[in-house]
Symmetry: C2
């Protein structure tokens, strides 16, 4: 069983998986994992080889989104949450859940092409799995994230996201909760709502907005072309998002990802859903959001040692370049490079 261990100085938790062997040096691998479709474990036809299906969105016999347990989980669901000391140190059994959201049956689908309806099914599955997993009182946090491209940690190329349920509230989340609560005590306003007001007023970093969501490049971006998606209505909990808001969230997520991919040519990226913890006292000062980071720059010793990041692209410049992008849809609502009407006549089909 994996073991959770806590650093006695910084209170950071680490998962010691311990029996997987040492991975190959990361940079010896290509930028995008290029699996042969024949061996892809997530393609249609390979369903018997995956761990049991937890949830699926189907159209007749064909699944459109499929959620399965991770075959190589960072935390495992069976067992008792056992805490123990080891002299100075604290440890805990590695209890949790680790699920994979297979976003699309097509191996080559991605946010470069997804229709709004396709993104809506993906974020629907995030919400449904969050609503189900929070019923387990052992879990204190549910983290939904996506790795795309090897530098971002993806080891499979079939489009997928992940959900990890943890038995403690992660340090990064505690930092945001505390930051939001301190600001609220000081100003009696939500810090994210204040950011929303400033960004929509100044427009210097505003990439996209609809009735319910904004997309902007944050003032203190750590990475080039970093993006935040923020709901306009104050809400601490993603899982409470209504169906109609979920559609507007899907539109904002597709705009953000579609523009990023168009502007940068399919960069390695992560996105991470930041929402409030489960099974504890409510965190009403918090405001759920999505963080999108590109992984084109390397994190070096200075960043690790200081927590300071050096970003070679200002968020204002990143916003300008993302705002210039135009997304085109084909008749089915899928994103395309250019609409047929813009193709030169000799290429028209």
């Amino acid at each position: 069983m994996p073991e959770l261990r806590k650093d006695p100085v910084t209170k950071r938790w680490v998962i010691i998986v311990g029996d997987r062997g040492l991975p190959a040096f990361a940079a010896d691998e290509p930028n995008h994992p290029q699996q042969d479709r024949d061996v892809c474990p997530f393609c249609p036809g390979k369903e018997p080889g995956t761990p049991p299906e937890i949830l699926a969105y189907r159209d007749g016999d064909q699944w459109l989104v499929r959620v399965v347990a991770n075959k190589f989980p960072a935390l495992i669901i069976e067992g008792i949450l056992d805490r123990a000391g080891d002299g100075l140190y604290d440890k805990m059994s590695g209890i949790g859940a680790h699920e994979v959201i297979i976003e699309h049956p097509s191996h080559s689908a991605s946010f470069a092409t997804y229709s709004v309806r396709e993104v809506e099914r993906i974020v629907w599955s995030y919400r449904e799995r969050s609503r189900d997993l929070r019923k387990d009182p052992r879990f204190k946090y549910l983290l939904v994230f996506k790795n795309s491209g090897r530098p971002a940690g993806a080891s499979l190329s079939h489009p997928h996201s992940q959900l990890i349920a943890t038995p403690v509230i992660p340090k990064r989340v505690i930092e945001e909760l505390n930051g939001a609560e301190n600001y609220f005590h000081f100003r009696e306003r939500c810090v994210y709502c204040d950011m929303l007001r400033q960004e929509t007023a100044s427009k210097r970093r505003l990439v996209f907005e609809n009735e319910r969501f904004v997309v902007f490049t944050p003032f203190a971006s750590r990475f080039p072309f970093e993006l935040v998606i923020l709901p306009k209505m104050h809400s601490s909990d993603f899982a409470e998002t209504s169906d109609s808001d979920l559609r507007l969230f899907a539109i904002a997520l597709r705009e953000a990802m579609g523009r990023l991919i168009r502007a940068l040519g399919d960069p390695p990226y992560n996105y991470i859903l930041h929402t409030s913890p489960v099974n504890g006292s409510p965190h009403e000062a918090y405001h759920w959001h999505v963080e999108i980071i590109t992984r084109m720059t390397r994190v070096a010793g200075f960043e690790w040692g200081s927590g300071f990041y050096v970003n070679p692209v200002s968020p204002e410049e990143a916003c300008r370049r993302l705002s210039e992008c135009t997304l085109y849809e084909d008749a089915d609502g899928h994103l395309v490079e250019r609409p047929d009407s813009l193709l030169p006549a000799k290429e028209s089909r």
Copy 2:
């Protein structure tokens, strides 16, 4: 001028350099930057092309260690430390110092071969530059670090370390200072001294010790083969290390790095000197140390979103493998693969 910007929620500072353009996708580059020696800016003979020399350790006409300003600094030394608000946000002019410690005249020298005397000159230069830079009251922290291999952020292959002086105390340092102070208030003992006692007693994670320093794999290691070098005597400030202790530190650093390189075959790595801030109230509960991290695993969305790390190698297993390594010296005190006496007879020279 670079701009320092502070995240309003997490209080994390970011340096927006802003005019360097977007780097190439990181993983398209080879694991080790393989510069042609003809174009290496740090090799002997290229001194006129570097920024002015700040410090050197010489033997006659030949420098053995050379410190110069960084040609592409993250922070710049000329200017006034100007703080300003921008609505909700805080920013500051990017004042600081960014120096490069060229560790050796030889392009191919490294911790795989360094003699104790060579390492001693390198750590001497860290101490001397720290003692000088702390005289500038604009600086609040001095961070010494080394990037080796591209995945660890190195862009030049000639052996070098770096020193960055920052006008604020970095977040990661504040976390360690607070952690050490909280523990001290609770137990009236130093948390690092307690770790030292537990690690030297249990020996399960102890890789090396001499009269003044220990090297161990930390209980909650984030990365495979992570190492900590800790002085046995409680001391918050690296810059106060005496000449005789500096030699024992050099021995410990060479043991740690030599074993890591032997065991893993020159992995990408960072090391970071953690010491107390300068030009402020003293932090007597703190205990300076060196953190050595390998960069063989990728940091994915889960780690970014949670601050949780997943480590596939337990620190106990890493310690076992590092403890099995034997370092051999040639007659000059340089590390070699195997001593001549262990070579098969037919290979003996």
